[in-house]
Amino acid sequence: MKILDLSAGDRDFLAEVESRSGQNLKTCYQCGNCTAGCPYTFAYDIPVSQVMRLIQAGQREMVLNSKSLWLCASCQSCTTRCPNEIDVAKVMDVCRHMARESGCVSERTTKLFTDAFLQSVETHGRAYELGLMARYTLKSGRFFDNIALGPTALLHNKLSFKPHPIQGKEQVARIFERFRKGE
């Protein structure tokens, strides 16, 4: 196990997460309620309460490389029940932003899906599910995961073969464009 040198903790990391999320993380007293309610704990490498702890201890690398960031579904159960009224889901969100910014991607497939989804929105103005599945499948190389669903979905006319582009799709594209410029 990694031994932490607490004095070498990155205080700026705590400050940055606090200011970007607007949350006071010093109030977290490690009760574990967030972890207790998080449906994804079984899939996490670091339970959400320990993510909070590691932020307090300024462990930037461990946090930003955690798979948990990418597996959080923003289900809000942690936020809803935290006795210190910390918006934990927002903190997870912010850490994910920071991970993305610093190029840490420990769950590649999740990121690919997110990217494919947004790509689809940027192109068509709306999510085009078949297209985004195709793009995701190509990029991730995970051909078999959802292949079984294909027939079920198509049989029930669930997925449309054509995207539903909108007239204002340039407007939407410009949202992304301006966003990237501003970054």
Partner: protein
């Protein structure tokens, strides 16, 4: 006036950063100062002697000491000047230690500032006048409000000490929460075995009168002489005759009356004696469920009562008593855990409170001491305890620790194993707070000898699964989520101020904190006193407290009351407000604003309305002085003139060529 000034070095505490000799020199030039000197330790014996000698030798009639905070040594020096024959109000203090030498490094600035402070004191002193305390007699009787273990202890100690005691209890019986407990930590002795005899003592003590089913309606007067009105609620039973035989309760056909004594785990009869050891052991009718009082039908209890004491027409009664001191011991209530929707809000009958669990454990409880879960009466095997429910939780506005729930949870885990040897307890906790004598050993025993499994983490949710409840929590030490299928879940619900505490506080002029617990006079040095003279606190009404501490406080409050009333006469602080009747126009504004009701309206010989201060009630806040549009009511020792003299000493009007005086 002949004023003497004494500048203290406090060793190097003051002299280190203040040039004391210079201050002496400057002070010697202040108006009416005839003597100025310095002294190494003014409060020491030689220091005080120095003051006394100087008063005699220089014929001083006023003294200024520049030293530490008056909050520290003002009483000391007042006694010293009094020993020299001066009135103790002919003394002023300048705080050149806490407010000068300890907070500033610049010696020149400090010296200058110290001299300013001495000048302010001199200017104020020049306007002081001797004040003489009035003495008054006291009523040798104590009111104890609340008959929990703290109030019981206070009442018995006062009565044994020779005072008459009036105890007012809101419920039908005294005993408070302790009467509902099964066994008590850390000794696991039976609660009613230790409390029962004390309750009987209350009933039998010739100096104690007990008013149960009663509440304090209003209080007037002041320390030594309070006048208290008590409302005795109608019980529909003449308690002077009732023998507590219980015949009525056996025959009452209305058996679905809520049973607060058993924490609503079962129901009881409309006419009822809450428990066999109740004191007073008298029956009372619940008017909400009695068929006679609701619908005019029944009347069975009146028929069967062998002494004929049922009275369906009975009304509330007001009683007035005069007392010299008041002990407040109104205890606490439990947090309403329904505020946690994730624990089911009451939808799951097998999620209960810790106090309900005490009733299930108790041999005199609704299940005769067998742990049967409410849903189906089955004996539980997996029992989950959740600590800090409604404590240490900002999201429900309860940031504080309830103090004793860690301990009673350990106790309940131990008792669970005693009752059901093949059971397994799980305790979800955040920290274990067990700071008393033998307490930590006790919680260790719960884990080590009784095998309770302690899990560090909160519980996020409880949901039913089959006939069990799934408790989903975290084990933060193992670093993961955990689930326990439970047969029974016991919530260690937190402690809240007792219902109605804020209102009672208003009646008694005792301030509640933001959570409704009464505020003590000083958190360390006056833990059972309040800021209202003659009113004391005992037990959990001041904050969460276990039985030993509550009892200790009961005795401490009794000692305070006994000490107070042991004096034949009390002296009032003469620094109170005084009305100049010539200026007073009788507008009564002061009467409206005085928070202590210390001012009354009187008519003078000419029949004109005037204000008059009741010296013994006035607390000396000076709110009235600021309120009076005529400047007619002045707080002695802090008059407008005195304070303005200090202002002028600091900012001389001549600076702007204007004179106000």
């Amino acid at each position: 006036m002949r004023i003497g000034v004494f500048i203290c070095h406090c060793g190097s505490n003051i002299a280190g950063t203040v040039d004391c000799e210079s201050v002496v020199e400057i002070a010697a030039g202040f108006p009416e100062v005839v003597y100025a000197t310095d002294s190494m330790y003014t409060c020491s014996e030689p220091g005080q002697e120095g003051i006394i000698t100087a008063i005699h030798e220089h014929n001083l009639d006023g003294v200024v000491v520049a030293s530490c905070s008056p909050r520290m040594h003002e009483p000391t020096f007042r006694r010293a000047v009094e020993r020299a024959g001066l009135n103790r109000y002919m003394f002023e203090m300048a705080n050149i230690r806490e407010h000068v030498s300890w907070i500033g490094k610049d010696k020149a600035h400090n010296t200058n500032k110290a001299a300013d402070l001495v000048l302010m004191a001199v200017e104020k002193l020049r306007r002081n006048r001797p004040l003489v305390a009035k003495s008054f007699t006291t009523v040798k009787k104590v009111l104890v409000i609340g008959g929990g273990v703290a109030g019981i202890q206070a009442a018995l100690d006062c009565a044994d000490g020779g005072l008459d005691v009036v105890m007012v209890e809101r419920d039908q019986s005294i005993g408070g929460k302790m009467a509902k407990l099964d066994k008590t930590f850390p000794t696991i002795d039976c609660s009613s075995c230790v409390l029962g005899p004390k309750m009987v003592d209350i009933a039998q003590h010739e100096k104690i009168s007990l008013y149960a089913c009663s509440e304090v309606e209003s209080v007037s007067g002041y320390v030594g002489n309070f006048s208290v009105t008590i409302r005795r609620r109608a019980t529909y039973v003449d308690w002077t005759k009732c023998t507590g035989c219980g015949v009525c309760t056996e025959k009452c056909p209305s058996k679905r009356s809520p049973d607060p004594f058993n924490e609503f785990l079962g129901t009881t009869t409309s006419i009822n004696i809450p428990f066999p050891q109740a004191i007073p052991k008298k029956a009372a009718i619940n008017p909400d469920t009695c068929m006679k009082l609701q619908k005019g039908k029944c009347g069975i209890c009146a028929k069967v009562c062998p002494v004929g004491c049922i009275d369906y027409e009975q009304q509330d009664e007001l009683v007035t008593v005069e007392v010299g001191a008041i002990v407040v011991a109104t205890g606490y209530d439990l947090f309403d855990w329904h505020k946690y929707p994730q624990y089911g809000e009451g939808r799951y009958p097998d999620v209960i409170t810790s106090l309900q669990y005490e009733r299930l454990l108790s041999a005199s409880g609704p299940t005769g001491g067998h742990i049967k879960r409410p849903s189906d009466g089955k004996e539980p095997k997996n029992v989950v305890f959740i600590q800090c429910v409604g404590s240490r939780d900002r999201s429900v506005d309860r940031p504080y620790c309830s103090g004793f729930c860690c301990m009673y949870t350990a106790k309940q885990a131990i008792l669970t194993k005693d009752h059901i040897p093949d059971s397994q307890s799980f305790v979800f906790y955040m920290d274990i707070r067990a700071p008393g004598k033998g307490y930590d050993e006790f919680t260790r025993r719960a884990m080590e000898e009784y095998g309770a499994q302690y899990v560090r983490g909160r519980v996020a949710m409880i949901y039913p699964h089959g006939d069990q409840l799934i408790v989903r929590g975290a084990d933060t030490l193992a670093g993961t989520q955990v689930e326990v299928p439970a047969d029974l879940v016991v919530l260690a619900t937190g402690v809240e101020a007792s219902q109605g505490a804020v209102k009672l506080g208003e009646t008694l002029r005792v301030v509640p904190d933001q959570f409704g617990f009464f505020v003590e006079s000083h958190p360390k040095l006056k833990p059972v006193e309040t800021n209202t003279a003659g009113v004391y606190l005992a037990g959990a009404c001041q904050g969460p407290k276990d039985i030993p501490t509550s009892v200790g406080q009961g005795s401490a409050a009794a000692a305070k009351a006994l000490g107070l009333l042991s004096k034949e006469q009390l002296e009032s602080d003469p620094a109170v407000s005084k009305v100049n009747v010539n200026r007073c126009v009788g507008c009564q504004k002061c009467i409206d604003t005085c928070p202590f009701g210390a001012i009354k309206a009187v008519t003078d010989r000419m029949g004109r309305l005037k204000a008059e201060v009741i010296e013994t009630v006035c607390q000396g806040c000076g709110i009235c002085t600021v309120t009076c549009p005529q400047g007619a009511i002045q707080l002695e020792h802090f008059t407008d003139n005195q304070i303005l003299a200090e202002v002028n000493a600091l900012c001389p009007p001549k600076m702007n060529n204007v004179s106000f005086e």
